[in-house]
Amino acid sequence: MHADIDFSHYLKNTGAGLVHLDLAVEGINCAGCMAKIERNLSNIPDVTSARVNLTDSRLALEWKAGTLEPALFVSRLAELGYKAYPFERDDAETLEAQRAQGLLRRLGVAAFAAMNVMMLSIPVWSGNVSDMLPEQRDFFHWLSALIVLPAAAYSAQPFFSSALSALRARGVNMDVPISIGIVLALATSVIETINHAEHAYFDAAIMLIAFLLAGRYLDQNMRRRTRAFAGNLAALKAETATKFISPTEIRTVPAAAIRPGDIVLLRPGERCAVDGNVIEGRSEVDQSLITGETLPAMVTPGSAVFAGTLVRSGTLRVRASAASGGTLLDEISRLLDHALQARSRYLRLAERASRLYAPVVHATALLTMLGWLAYGASFHDSIVTAIAVLIITCPCALGLAIPAVQTVASGALFGSGVLLNAGDAIERVAEIDRVILDKTGTLTLPELDVANLAEIPDDVVRLAGRLALSSRHPVAAAVARYAGAASPLPDIQEEPGQGVHGLHEGRPIRLGRPSFCGADDLANEILCRDPEASVVAFSHGDSRYAFAVRQRLRPDAAEVVAGLARMGVAVEIVSGDREPAVRLAAEQLGVHEWRAGVSPVDKIARLEELARQGCKVLMVGDGLNDAPALAAAHASMSPVTATHLSRAVADAVFLGERLAPVLAEVKVSRRALRLMRQNLWLAVIYNVLAVPIAIAGLVTPLIAAAAMSGSSIIVMLNALRARAREAV
């Protein structure tokens, strides 16, 4: 089906007569796949380059312009057993990738400078105990300065700029003590070198920068990888829209290519890919992805429809709009802005640590200087000792303590099907004591399910399934899926808004509304038992059957709820759906606290009420109506099938049909937070041991270098313990 997508939106001219196309490919997971794809595609004549990126599961293709159809590659990949979709890097991902590359470049510069300076430092260290001439030592110091000063000026920029912006906002962050330490260490070293002194700290300063940049790069790379994966997911959904390119002519284009004002055609069974207003047509629509409401609503010209709406009966023409006039979306974006502001006030563990750390360290350095002055040391010696204290306490291990654990833990979560959107999500998820679950699409699967399959004979189910293949109606599609039907019946007509009918084995056969098949009595019976179900009736000759189609709970939902309870986390259901549906789900899962018919405003009100009581809430939801609550909650998760907005504001996205990733996320996060705290304590212990030596004025550049790398390595090794994977 994707073969008829218009690819022109994704093709890029690289100049020199070559065309470039990026594809996100599903199912690349080993080196064998990589070799197979590259070998196969580069054998196509006129293809100049086919290169797989195994980390991101992507394929970059280049071929001579005008020689090949892009769809050829997609079908060739399908022959090899891979599904491929064109994709476009979004701005956020490009930015993350640029930042990661910038940090790596700075890390490279700092590391090369550190290596070269170390080569000059070792002769000085050993020379100080043997017989190095002061002139030679000075010469080596000046050489070190020549290498370190420009390298530091370039590679430490991220710390300087972040410290400056924190100071401008009259705050302190981790980068303030780091920047002060670096600048003082370099300034002292230059002055000491001019004065022909014995010790200079060029090596320590540049090594510090290199270690800290390694921490930053790990953090950034994790974010980049998550973004890339999220980009692939968006591409794999292959959201397309049918656009009118003239009043009578239509074309299937990627949803990203739709501009405000374009007119889009929506047929029964299609999901709307854009926000807009109906200009022509009437239809029942399923808005469950947006409002959580499972009963279909009616739209007429003038009604607003949102991306994610499923069209059930009629054909619609929709004018796409950028800022929709729909009150729901306006309200949600207003709530969302408000909620996001609240979240930015959360203080990360590292920031809290640095708020304590900076004043203590700077006070210690000041006291050291005053102490030595009082003791009778010269002004110069006192200042040098105080600066040695600042250098030795420079939060090298502190800078690595948290990013290293985050990187390792996010790798473990990745394996359990959880993608982190925010770097501090781990800390916040670890603190939660209550989970609020949305019902529709979160506790239930996004796809419909046939509930009374056992009551209907197998051959009838199979026949109904084959007939259902001729209908695009989502309820009929559920019947077809559960019957495992593959071959449609011949000569079937569709009666719009009613159902499908035809002849089979000489008798009339029908599938559709109960009234269309004369099965109203059967339908009423089902609706009495289960008011949430949609009924689709089937008749063949005189025999009549009714299928109850409804949403099904995720297979492991009850287990996960029990697992959360065992961990001491309270579970609550808050849904926009009506009361009977929510009560039924709550009873099945053994959840005692539930609320039904909750509007987006009330969801936030409930979260605020809980926050006032001191609860830290993990919100799990998927609908557009959940987006403000996801942003307002202490932490949040979304299934990957959620609306775009919900996925973007949630801290984490989980994959697959199961709810188990929610449990894994809580478990891994709690262990990771424990390790982060341990790491911070390790850094404190290191300081407690090293600072007295510095205060005593005994720190040589050799001790500074050894202490710094030693503490960083211990913290890194401890972080690796977060890797033990959660069995889910």
Binding site: M34, T55, F112, N116
Partner: protein, 55 residues
């Protein structure tokens, strides 16, 4: 100690060459796919020879 006049510029320029090499490898995208690169190193040569054959 006159040897320093040769050795120091030599050491510095070697370091600088190393750095330039790193920057070049970064610019040519060699760190974009670290997982794939690990496997390419031990992959069979077949894809390469195939590619040449097709040209």
């Amino acid at each position: 100690m006159e040897v320093l006049i040769i050795l120091v510029p030599l050491a510095l320029s070697l370091g600088f060459v190393g750095l330039l090499g790193f920057l070049w490898s970064l610019k040519s995208g060699q760190y974009d796919d670290l997982d794939g690169a690990a496997w390419r190193a031990i992959a069979d040569d077949e894809p390469v020879s195939d590619h040449r054959g097709s040209k």
